[in-house]
């Protein structure tokens, strides 16, 4: 990348040298976020298990069929099968959704035990986990925002420059070929990475919190009808679920990128803060 506007260029570390990439505050908040979001996701799936269906509208009884429904019905080899219905189309999901196996025993549960907290149907406990870690997540998130603005992490490291935005096309081609920047360019986030982080931080995460709040009958009383702006409480529940899976997709891509651009180097930089500047682009 040939960025004339780069602000770090003057202080660019030599290739192969270790440099201080992530501040202690960012590292701590990153790992708190990992724990909180993982628990929120897994306890959220257990809450979903109590009513494994998604609807659109103000109520679940609008006369229209569910958008998504996971359950069990008679059929299959063992006499029972797990089924998932999406927009009215039914799929046999025995072993994964609806009906799963634990130590050889079949049990009926929408999302299986290995992805849920607590593992087996226990709504009150799942709610206790979910709402505790929702607070951890929100407090951590506000700390991160305040810190990022105050320390100029946001302006300096995350906001794409005008010049960078013009290179989006090339950045997409580079990503598809697994070509990664080396030397000075590797000390900055690339433009796609910046956009992905900004979308997660300023769109997906605030939206999932808002959709969660829209499900609270107490907070629905804040302004009459505000929940209808997103289509009603059941729509909010559906959006909450969809955004959760979009975040999972982000995490999968994020972890994939961490692995292909140097797992140990990236992990070290998020633990000790030190990142070794790659000496050459490695095509894999």
């Amino acid at each position: 990348m040939n960025e004339a506007t780069s602000t770090v260029a003057a202080a660019a570390p030599a290739q192969g040298a270790l440099y201080y990439r992530h501040t202690l505050a960012v590292r701590i908040m990153h790992w708190i976020n990992v724990v909180a979001l993982t628990i929120l996701f897994m306890s959220g799936l257990q809450i979903f298990n109590a009513h494994p269906a998604l609807h659109w509208g103000k109520s679940s009884y609008t006369g229209r069929p569910a958008l998504l429904e996971i359950g069990v019905r008679e059929g299959g080899e063992s006499g029972m099968m797990g089924v998932t219905r999406i927009f009215g189309r039914e799929f046999d999901t025995t072993g994964v959704l609806g009906l799963s196996r634990d130590d050889g025993e079949l049990y009926a549960q929408a999302f299986p035990s290995w992805i849920a907290i607590p593992s087996h149907q226990w709504l009150s406990m799942a709610r206790a986990w979910h709402f505790f870690f929702a607070w951890v997540f929100v407090v951590n998130g506000f700390c991160y925002l305040a810190y990022s603005i105050w320390s100029r992490h946001l302006a300096h490291d995350l906001a794409p420059t005008g010049g960078e935005l013009k290179t989006i096309g090339r950045s997409i081609r580079d990503h598809l070929r697994f070509r990664h920047p080396s030397g000075e360019a590797a000390t900055r986030y690339n433009v796609l990475q910046k956009i992905a982080y900004l979308v997660v931080i300023f769109v997906l995460l605030p939206l999932i919190v808002l959709m969660g709040l829209a499900m609270s009958p107490r907070l629905d009383a804040l302004f009459t009808g505000w929940v209808d702006l997103v289509g009603g409480r059941q729509s909010a529940r559906t959006l909450h679920f969809v955004i959760a899976w979009l975040l999972v997709a982000f995490v999968l891509i994020h972890v994939f990128q961490v692995i292909v651009t140097g797992l140990w180097n990236n992990l070290r930089s998020m633990i000790t803060g030190r990142y070794r500047v790659p000496t050459e682009a490695h095509d894999e």
């Binding site: 809450i47 009513h51 103000k58 907290i117 009958p217 629905d220 804040l222």
Partner: protein, 258 residues
């Protein structure tokens, strides 16, 4: 470049990660079943309750809907017919012998027949019922405001909670009657009513006949059905399991505003 060590290192890392995930999941399971950890998690409930009051205010009104939003049929959940001889006897005579008792920390304890309740000023509201499980249904409720009854019995200054004792036993042996409790903010709230009609017809047995609570800013399990007695108390610690409600005694949150 020799790729072998890299591959085995990756495989090793994947195994460590898999092992760690299994351990973490087992750890979460242990924590859920421990004595102390759920008490830590309960901090979240207290924060949510405080934030709910702070943000939405004590007097904020729940959303009311129109006839067009009504659910085609209002789902019956939990008890659909109380398993008790006393209730069957009341039902057999269409609740002609029913009497609602309002007592506890009040200046003037009273009893109301269904006819007396119906003769009092009524409130009609179309509201959304949100079950803790996740579903919602919209129904039209008509009943007497709880505040009307409170004005009549005059609560003592020490009264902090209103407890609703119900006719439906939750255990097979006829024990463990359903009960619930709310604080005085919800008790005096204009949308908190004791409903005797659902969708312009007398409340069906499945929905809590002859009288059920509507406390619109909380989840479904707070809306006690088959209400027989309303008791004003300073604390619910000595009532049944001591947590303020049947589901609360099973581990559910007393604050059901979220």
């Amino acid at each position: 470049m020799n790729r072998r060590p890299e591959m085995s290192r990756r495989r090793f890392f994947a195994r460590v990660l898999g092992g760690a995930a299994t351990l973490a999941l087992a750890g979460c399971q242990k924590l859920s079943q421990s004595e102390w950890f759920p008490k830590v998690l309960a901090v979240g409930e207290r924060l949510s309750a405080a934030a709910g009051t702070l943000v939405a205010g004590r007097k904020a009104m729940a959303q009311e809907f129109t006839e067009a939003d009504l659910s085609p049929s209002f789902r019956s959940n939990g008890t659909f017919r109380p398993q008790s001889a006393e209730y069957e006897a009341l039902l057999a005579r269409s609740f002609a012998d029913y009497a609602l008792v309002v007592d506890g920390l009040v200046a003037d304890p009273r009893r109301y027949s269904l006819a007396e309740l119906r003769a009092l000023e009524s409130r009609t509201q179309i509201t959304r019922h949100d079950c803790v499980e996740g579903w919602s249904a919209i129904g039209k409720w008509k009943g007497v405001k709880l505040s009307t009854l409170l004005e009549a019995v005059r609560p003592a200054p020490a009264a902090r909670f209103v407890v609703f004792h119900c006719a439906d036993p939750m255990a097979d042996d006829g024990k463990d009657p359903y009960y619930e409790s709310i604080d005085m903010d919800d008790a005096w709230h204009p949308q908190t009513i004791l409903a005797y009609d659902l969708n312009d017809a007398p409340l069906p047995v499945g929905n809590g006949a002859p009288l059920r609570l509507r406390v619109e800013r909380q989840l479904g399990y707070k809306h006690a059905k088959y209400v027989m007695r309303i008791e004003l108390v300073e604390s619910f610690e000595k009532i049944h399991g001591g947590n303020g409600g049947y589901w609360e005694d099973q581990g559910y949150q007393w604050y059901a505003g979220i």
